[in-house]
Symmetry: C2
Subunit: 304 residues, 2 copies
């Protein structure tokens, strides 16, 4: 039933840091990317190109890009919301992939991007086209796919219809995001399967927050339903400034612990991730939400 | 694939409190049981009858029992490790079901109960027989079924063989416990299915700790494999004093949130559980690990 390996995207540098009150330096952001690469990460969401007044944590996007390690084997993703952001990302010369966002409800789309849900589909389609024209790749994430902080339940039909509309723009991937951490594994399994059936040529990525403790259960269900890529943040950092109560992303090290022990290869090194958690916690001056980094290693050598 | 309903056992009064540094009063323990019942709990592990020098948190077992609400519709479980404990539990006249413990590895069995793994199977069988003779029911939990803090990996064959041996004593249920929180959902699905196949007449209960963030994923996998009862503790309290690093049980309110939203009925009321979490946190004077109680309610009424 389960795949032998999945791909992970490290999102701590963007989604992880975006909602933290503690602003960290550009140098520390670059160090975080370097630690992720050292731990095995090969796709990393490094920053977003958005209005610095709305998201001051990402105001140094160009400076972060200028300091990224030059690695042919790493895909750097920049999150963009519109054509202006896409142009900025392309202009850096360091972003390999543009990540667009479409939002499943009008109310959340207006709060997040100042447009309707359909408008966010159109914007994402334009971004994907711009990426391709610039010789980059473009992908899109459907935000609030499992529930909206303003409107409540989100219909699966709506998300499937969005995936079909977005597929017209030929993204290299469609992501389904539980932006506010309300998903349950039954819903996840159903929606991932429906999107796969609707757009079978396009790989499905998933993005979960552990706001209500269900993050890893949702990861497991998504993989079982055919998702091939999982977003996660070192330390379980992150949230969304426009989603009240949203807690951290699923923790990269917790996801890797679960999957590697379950026989699903991630390409990541758990000990290096735990060390990165501890380092990042010292930078942020707090204990991060991830659980594995607080627990003793297992299995350990026999002591009896 | 998934059942429409499952049974939950509230274990906060015993496994939840047993490893807490904060000793709470007998009156507060009884109030915790009352709150669990008010939230819908109908099986509750109320205390253990063990050496008070080893587990001082449970030294008031008889006093807790004397104060339990008289409810014909609630099954009160007392945890016992040997015949002496079983006699104490029966003597109270208030314990409906004895819960025995067998340990999957010799090293852990010696640390936990001063005997071998086989010795713990024999002791559990004796306890189950004593329960039946006293007109009560007896069940057993296989501890460290998914990993041992001393020996590391535990073979599935060993756990299945223990289940077969324990089945000779006719327990009303066999529990599989991830005592130290190292299980992954693939292992859980396989072991639950193997035990069910080995002893098809005996219902399987599962008991997970969220030490490494995988607790709810394991609950979901266990139910998918046919487990019909899930242990959980309000607030995610708990651990084991003999298992280094063991963090809390899965949180009752987090499990209920996940299952009820997934369409699996638990018989429990989420709002009452969240209130119980907040009350218990005030008693313990700390924020408890459960996540749902820290998050805003969802779904909420439309606000747009």
């Amino acid at each position: 039933m389960y795949t032998e390996s999945i791909e992970m995207v490290e999102v701590a540098p963007r989604d992880g840091l975006q909602n933290e009150k503690t602003m960290i330096s550009t140098a520390d952001k670059i160090a975080l990317v370097e630690r992720a690469i050292a731990a095995g990460a090969r796709r990393i969401e490094v920053t977003s190109f958005v209005n610095p007044k709305a998201v001051p944590q990402m105001a140094d996007a160009e400076a972060v890009c200028a300091g990224l390690p030059r690695r042919d084997d790493v895909t750097y993703i920049g999150l963009v919301m519109n054509a202006r952001g896409a142009a900025r990302a392309i202009e850096t010369g360091r972003i390999d992939q543009l990540g667009a966002v479409s939002v499943a409800t009008d109310t959340f789309a207006k709060a997040n991007q100042g447009q309707t849900s359909d408008g966010s589909v159109a914007a994402a389609s334009e971004i994907i086209a711009m990426a391709r024209q610039a010789g980059k790749t473009g992908q899109v994430t459907i935000a609030a796919a499992f529930g909206c902080p303003f409107e409540g339940e989100v219909s699966e039909d709506r998300v499937v219809a969005m995936a079909e509309a977005l597929a017209q723009a030929n993204p290299v991937e469609i992501g389904l995001a539980d932006t506010i951490g309300v998903a349950n594994p039954a819903h996840v399994a159903t929606l991932v399967a429906r999107v796969r059936a609707a757009v079978p040529a396009i790989p499905v990525r998933v993005h979960f927050h552990n706001t209500r403790g269900t993050g890893l259960a949702n990861v497991w269900a998504a993989i079982g339903a055919g998702a091939v890529t999982v977003d996660a943040a070192i330390g379980g950092l992150g949230g969304c400034p426009f989603a009240p109560g949203a807690a951290g992303n699923v923790s990269t090290e917790d996801v890797v612990y679960m999957l590697e022990r379950a026989g699903v290869r991630t390409g990541l090194d758990l000990a290096a991730l735990v060390a990165a958690n501890h380092w990042l916690g010292s930078v942020m001056d707090r204990t991060l939400p991830g659980m594995v980094a607080k627990a003793p290693p297992f299995p350990r050598p026999a002591q009896a």
